[in-house]
Structure formats: C-alpha cells, structure tokens
C-alpha cells in the first residue's frame, strides 16, 4: 500500500526529525557532540534517499563532485588551527549559499516558464544565496587577515548599498512578473554578490562572528527557498530551521556582546567601533571581555578553582554571594580554595573579616605562600575585585611602585577570570599586565552583581 513517494517522504521526515534533535542537543553542553552525530545521520539518510529514489543519472559527475567537495571539506576542517575555526565556519557557510544560488540558476535555465510562485522561490534562493556566498567569503578573508580586520568604509557607502539591493530586488520583481530572460537572474546574482561584499566590508573583525551567524541564517533561508523550487519538504524544513535558529542565535550573540544587532551591522558606517570592553595594549594585545554564561561553563568544568578576593569584593560587599558560589561549585565536586594576599583590601585582615562574616570556614582560606604553588594545577583563578595583589609587575618591573611586593601567582593558572567594573587601576594606581594575558578574561561589572549572575548561570548549567 505504500508508494515510492511515501517512502521518500518518510525517509526525509527521518532527516527532519534528526535535524530538530540535532539542534536541540547542540544547545546544551552535555549533548552537543551527540547532536552533531544525530545531524550527520540525518544528512546521510537524506543523501541516500535522494540518490536512490529521485530517479537520477550523471552518476559519474555526482561522484566526482562529491569527492572533490569531500576532500576540500575534510582537508579544510582538519588542518585548520583551533583559533581559525570561525573563518572555517564562514567559508563552509558561503559555499552552501553558493550551492543554493547555483541550483536556482539551473532551475531558471531549465524551466520553460515557471509559475509566479516558483519564480519567487528561484529569485529568493539566488538572491539570498549569493549574498551569503559573497559576504561569507569577505568575512573569511577578514578573519584570515587576507583583508584588514578593520572596518573598511568609504563615504556614501550605505546609499550605494541600498541602491544595489534595490536594483537586485527590482530585477527579481521583474522576473516574478514574467520576464523570463536568462540575463535577468545572472544580473541579479551579480548585484547580490556585490551587495554581499559591500555589506560585510565595513564590519570590524571583532563583530565578525555575529555577521557569520547572520549569513548562516541567510543560507538556511536560501536552502529553504530552494526547497520551494524543487518541492522538497526536507529542504524547506531544514533550511527554515536553520534560518530561524540562526536568526535567534544572531540576536543572542549580539546580546552577549551587549550590542544591538543594528549596532553590529551598521555601527561602523559612521565610526570605527572599539568593541565593548575591548581595549588594546600598545603592543596589540587586547583585553577580552567575557560573559557570566561563559565563566559559568568554565567553572562548572573545572576541577580546581581558586578564589582571589580583593578590595573590590569588600566595596561591593559581595562576600556572602562569593561564598554561595563557592558552595555551589564545591557541591558539584569542584575543589575551591580562597587565596588571601596579606595586603588585600585596605586594612590588615580585611578579607578575613569579610569572609568570616560570610561564614567561610577558616580551613578554606590559604595564605599566599601556601597557595602560590597550587595555581599551576588550577583550572580557573577567579579574581574578585583584586588588582595590585595579582599584578606581575611586582615581579618583573623594577620601576613599578609595587616592585618587590610578593604577589599571588594567578597568572600560573590555566585560565584567569577577573571581576571588576572597569579597566581602572587599584590602590597603587598602575596598570595590570595580567589583564592582557591571553589566558585572562574580564567580567566587567560590580562584583556583587557579577557574582549573582554567575550563580544563576552556574545553576543553569
């Protein structure tokens, strides 16, 4: 009773289910990797189904194309450095967009006089796919430093951009209205490519991940449009899943950077942006701001955490919350210790007074000499409003007013998270090299508020 199309449809449904589960799993640390495997399985089902049931030929071409694509993909993905991952995502996203545009072109070429709805889909697929392709290539080039990471701007850029986009849209409307000439779509693709380039060029390197995520959503929508062209539910659904999820993710990423999406995309048109909380040392090293969620993941996956309280914890009166965070981590099996520098705070024993008030057992407190050797085995040093007492200048810079003071060796920890409100110096009035360390991230904000956010985030893990 079951017909061929039914089997195909069911198999594609399997793919859809796999993809939904994959996305679900990918959004929780516990299942993320499994999610990718489930997605992979779904993809295999879809490919096999297409090959087996869609009555096709040109096997050799398909095989050769697939082989080339596979080699490119595997080699690209395998050999890239871990830090270059974002540009890899960009490039693979771009080729997906390109594929969608090409499929649209082929359909435009093949169908004699497609209906208005089919044409609409073809136009959308070509337009969006091309933008995504070109934009992704530029994003790749910028991240790979083939192009300057700086925003590239010229006067009147936004006017030009809008005109290009309008022209492309006009062509598309003409096509839908029935102008079935080959050049129409080619011209449209050309304009879309141009737009993609110009859209991404003015965006700075730090904002690139947000842009890539947006282009990713674009590619999803292009794939979905392709599905309309080919009457393929699996394409419609999968593409749209990515379109929607990607859009939401883009918003989330912008939010995590404390930026509006408009600011990310168009902020640079007037001005070169200095990404929130990102400062740059003279030698080009930058300060990296982080988010409570990220710190929460770091803490949750840590085996050993050392809390380094300083005057900022006292000012914020965060001691009770610090203890609560430590308790939660301890409860999860993390080894938590407090490192008390002899002059942390503004009076002898300042940290003791506060931590005793918060009921931290004395046995968890360690003196500097005792704890310093332990930083090397520490996953996260959580520096809470301490500054001078962690400043490596005391060891290395004879000109510094704090030279010679023994400090807590937080820089020996595998990673360092610093909670303070700004890049302002502490008591000694000097900058802290530690904040430029590549292992350091800064969680800006009042220490009490940051800790409260951390507690929520850790609990949500």
């Amino acid at each position: 009773m079951i017909s061929d199309p039914d089997v195909v449809g069911l198999l594609y449904l399997v793919t859809i289910v796999c993809f939904v589960i994959a996305l679900r799993f990918l959004s929780s640390p516990k299942h993320a990797r499994k999610g990718n495997w489930v997605g992979g399985a779904g993809m295999l089902v879809a490919i096999a189904t297409t090959l087996l049931f869609e009555g096709i030929g040109n096997w050799a071409l398909i095989a050769v194309g697939a082989t080339i694509g596979t080699v490119v993909g595997v080699v690209g993905a395998r050999n890239v450095r871990m830090t270059a991952m974002p540009q890899m995502v960009a490039i693979f996203n771009g080729v997906g967009g390109g594929a969608a545009a090409l499929v649209a072109l082929a359909e435009w070429h093949n169908e004699a006089g497609p209906a208005w709805d089919s044409t609409t889909s073809i136009v959308l697929s070509a337009l969006i796919g091309s933008i995504s392709f070109a934009g992704s290539i530029i994003a790749f080039a910028k991240l790979q430093e083939l192009l300057s990471g700086r925003p590239i701007v010229f006067p009147g850029q936004n006017v030009v951009n809008i005109l290009v986009l309008l022209a492309a849209t006009g062509l598309g409307m003409a096509a839908v209205a029935g102008v079935h000439e080959q050049w129409v779509l080619w011209a449209l693709v050309a304009l879309a490519l141009l737009f993609g380039v110009m859209f991404v060029l003015p965006i700075g390197g730090a904002d690139m991940p947000v842009v890539i995520s947006l282009l990713n959503a674009f590619t999803g929508i292009a794939a979905s449009a392709t599905g309309f062209v080919l009457d393929s539910t699996v394409l419609i659904v999968s593409g749209m899943l990515v379109g929607a999820a990607g859009t939401l993710l883009t918003l989330l990423m912008a939010k995590a950077m404390n930026r509006s999406i408009a600011n990310v995309l168009f902020g640079a048109f007037g001005q070169v942006q200095a990404g929130a909380g990102t400062a740059r040392a003279d030698d080009g090293r930058t300060v990296r701001a982080t988010t409570p969620d990220d710190v929460a993941v770091q803490l949750s996956f840590a085996r050993k955490v050392i809390v380094v309280p300083g005057y900022g914890m006292a000012v914020a009166q965060a001691q009770h919350d610090v203890r609560q965070l430590a308790d939660i981590l301890e409860g999860r099996g993390v080894d938590v210790r407090y490192a008390i520098h002899p002059v942390a705070g503004r009076m002898p024993g300042h940290m003791n007074v506060l931590l005793a008030e918060a009921n931290v057992p004395y046995t968890q407190l360690s003196e500097m000499d005792e704890i310093n050797p332990e930083f090397a085995q520490t996953d996260v040093a959580l520096v809470i409003g301490a500054n001078d007492v962690t400043n490596p200048a005391a060891r290395s810079d004879p000109g510094s007013p704090i030279y010679g003071m023994p400090i807590l060796d937080v820089d020996k920890a595998a990673s360092i998270v610093v909670l303070k409100r700004s890049m302002n110096p502490g008591f000694a009035g000097i900058d802290n090299e530690l904040y430029l360390d590549s292992k350091t991230t800064m969680l800006f904000g009042d220490a009490k508020e940051s800790i409260l956010k951390l507690i929520s985030a850790v609990k949500a893990q």
Binding site: H341, P342, V343, P348, M351, N352, V353, A356, Y362
Partner: protein
C-alpha cells in the same frame, strides 16, 4: 498594690529590680511603685528617670512600710527581712535550694516569698525566667572577660606581618549561658567547640555554627530541661577525656551546673597546667564552687601562666542591660500574681505555686 524597690545591699551588686521603663508600664496597669533613692544609680538609671516614670522616691528606712510587695535582685539581709511587715510579698533571687536559713527567716516573718530561681521553666513562664535572662548576660560577658584577659586576638587575620591564628575556644555546658558564650565567641571570630552531657544539646550547638566535642559522656534531661548529675564513673571518664583535650584550647568557658548541687568538677588542675601560657579559663559555675579545680570563686588567679577567672555575678558587671531584662522578668511575674494591680494568689496555678518558697500557713 504598692511595689517597693530597694537599693541592693549585697556586695558588688549593681543591678536594680525595676527600671524606669517597666515602672511606667506597671503604673499604667494599676501598680504604685516606690523606689529607694539612688537604687538605679549603679546600673545607669538615675533617680530623675524613675520620677519621670511615676515612681515615688523614698528613703531606705521608709521603703518597707506601706509596701505590699518588695521586688529586689539579691536576697535580703536579716535586717531587711526584719523591716518588712508580715504578709508582704517578696520577689527576688532567694537561693531557695541552698539558703535554708534565709528561708526560715522569711517563713518566720510570714513573708510570701517568690524565688525567681523557682519559677518553673515552662513555656508560658518564659517571660519571667530570670535565670535565663541573667545567664544570657553571663554567657556574653564571660567571652568579653576572656577576650580582655588573653594576650591574643580572637579572629584569624592574614596580614603583611604574617597570619594570626584564630583562638580556639571550648565551651563546657551548653545551657543558656553556654549557648550565648558560643555565639559571642564565634562572633569574635574564634573557632569554637562545645560539650554538654545532655544529648539534645548537640543539635543546638551546631545550630550556632559551632562544633560539638563528643567526649562520650551522656546523661538524661530532667523535666525542667536540666541535666542529671553524673555517676562517679561518668564523672571520672569526663575528667579524663577533658584532661586530654583541654590543652588544645586557648579559651575555656565552663557553665556546667546541676541545680541545687555543687558544680561538677570537670577540669583538674593538672589539665590547667598543661595549657599554653596566656590561655584563659572563665568559670561561670564559680558561685557554686566552680567547674575547674583551680577556680577561686570571686577571684582571678593565675596557674602556670593560665588565667582562671572565677569572677561571680557577671550580670552585675553589665548592670544596665541585665537590670533591664530582670526588670521585665519581675514585672511579668507581678502581672501574673496581680493581673490588674491587685494581688490574686491562685495556689492552683503552676507558676504561682512553683515560684513561692514561703507562704502563710493558712494558704498551705
């Protein structure tokens, strides 16, 4: 009904039985109050305050005459008893379990005497429970005395000049005073352990964040929540265990008591000698002989560098607050005995009957 409050005559007694605040409350309910001049001075309550509260200030000689009730802190001297007219109600710490002579005197004079110590420790008598209120002050003060005497800081401090280790304190007997001592020691930042023979106490000690020191000695709790006396074997066992553990501590506060008995001797002199020089023992049981062999009641002595504080009547050293608390206890009892300012003695009542230590024969 007129309540008279004398100036205390017992040596070192600074408290006063009623404070001005309570006087005005009593007057509002229908009591008349006379106060001996300067009765509140030592506790920080000047005569003017009493006058403002509506008390009549009288000279000592005139006080007893015309008073239906005399409220005081310590027991009256024989001459003071003499001055009271028969049938007068007397309220105060009368030491009923040990001062049989004093009681006989009162009985003879036909005084209706209520001993604050004898108020049953039942829930609804809690507001009259002067043992508890004064023990609260003693527990707190014991810690302050220790902190003042010891050449160390209580809290841990990590400073540029090295780390100061926190004081390690032991509280023996975690009744009302003991618990307050635990709380105060912890507040000051010491590391506190506590020990008691009543089994329910462990949870209470831990509810204050202190550690319970288990010496393996347990006894039951009486009806009133007091500890039973230990058997001689248990006592020996306890002494041995303490002798071993005591030298670990810098401050020891003892409060162990069994009502009506001499305080159990818990800390042998040998244990004191093994403590670090500079350590301090505060013996709150000094009044009944002390929990420590080295204790001299009423004195501060040194034994091998260890200070043993046997100071008695600690509440009197905090006369302001302890008078305030005691005064509320007394007025709660007064309001119980004379709800609207008129005496209505109901001998069926658990509190009235329990607290009364001498009463007219007709009533018996």
């Amino acid at each position: 009904m007129r309540v008279a409050v004398p100036r205390e005559t017992a040596p070192g007694e600074r408290r006063v039985a009623l404070v001005p605040e309570t006087v005005s409350k009593l007057r509002a309910t229908g009591f008349d109050v006379s106060i001996e001049r300067a009765a509140g001075n030592a506790a920080g309550f000047p005569d003017e305050a009493y006058a403002d509260a509506g008390a009549e200030l009288v000279d000592g000689a005139a006080l007893a005459s015309g008073a239906d009730c005399i409220a005081r802190v310590a027991r009256p001297s024989p001459s003071e008893v003499e001055a009271m007219s028969p049938g007068t109600v007397l309220i105060g710490f009368l030491d009923p379990l040990t001062d049989s002579e004093g009681l006989a005197r009162l009985r003879q004079r036909e005084i209706v005497a209520f001993a604050m110590e004898s108020i049953p420790r039942i829930t609804r008598a809690q507001s009259m429970d002067a043992l508890s209120s004064q023990a609260t002050v003693s527990g707190y003060k014991a810690v302050i005395l220790a902190a003042d005497r010891i050449p160390r800081l209580f809290p841990m401090l990590m400073t540029a000049a090295g780390t100061i280790a926190p004081v390690r304190a032991l509280v023996i007997g975690a009744g009302v005073a003991g618990l307050q001592a635990i709380a105060t020691t912890r507040r000051l930042g010491a590391v506190v352990s506590a020990f008691d023979v009543r089994p329910t106490v462990q949870e209470q000690v831990e509810s204050l964040g202190a550690a319970f020191l288990d010496l393996g000695v347990r006894t039951e709790e009486t009806e009133g929540g007091y500890a039973r006396e230990l058997t001689p074997e248990q006592q020996a066992q306890q002494q041995a265990a303490l002798e071993e553990r005591i030298p670990e501590f810098d401050v020891v506060i003892t409060t162990a008591a069994v009502p009506g008995r001499a305080a159990p001797k818990l800390i042998p002199a040998s244990a004191v000698e093994r403590m670090r020089p500079g350590s301090v023992i505060v013996d709150l049981a000094a009044e009944t002989g002390g929990n420590c062999e080295a204790t001299v009641p009423g004195e501060v002595v040194e034994l091998g560098g260890v200070t043993v504080i046997g100071t008695t009547n600690l509440p009197s050293l905090m006369a302001y607050h302890s008078s305030q608390l005691y005064s509320r206890n007394v007025s709660a009892l007064l309001l119980h005995l004379a709800p609207d300012g008129e005496l209505v003695l109901d001998w069926e009542d658990e509190i009235t009957a329990g607290a009364c230590v001498t009463r007219p024969v007709s009533g018996e």
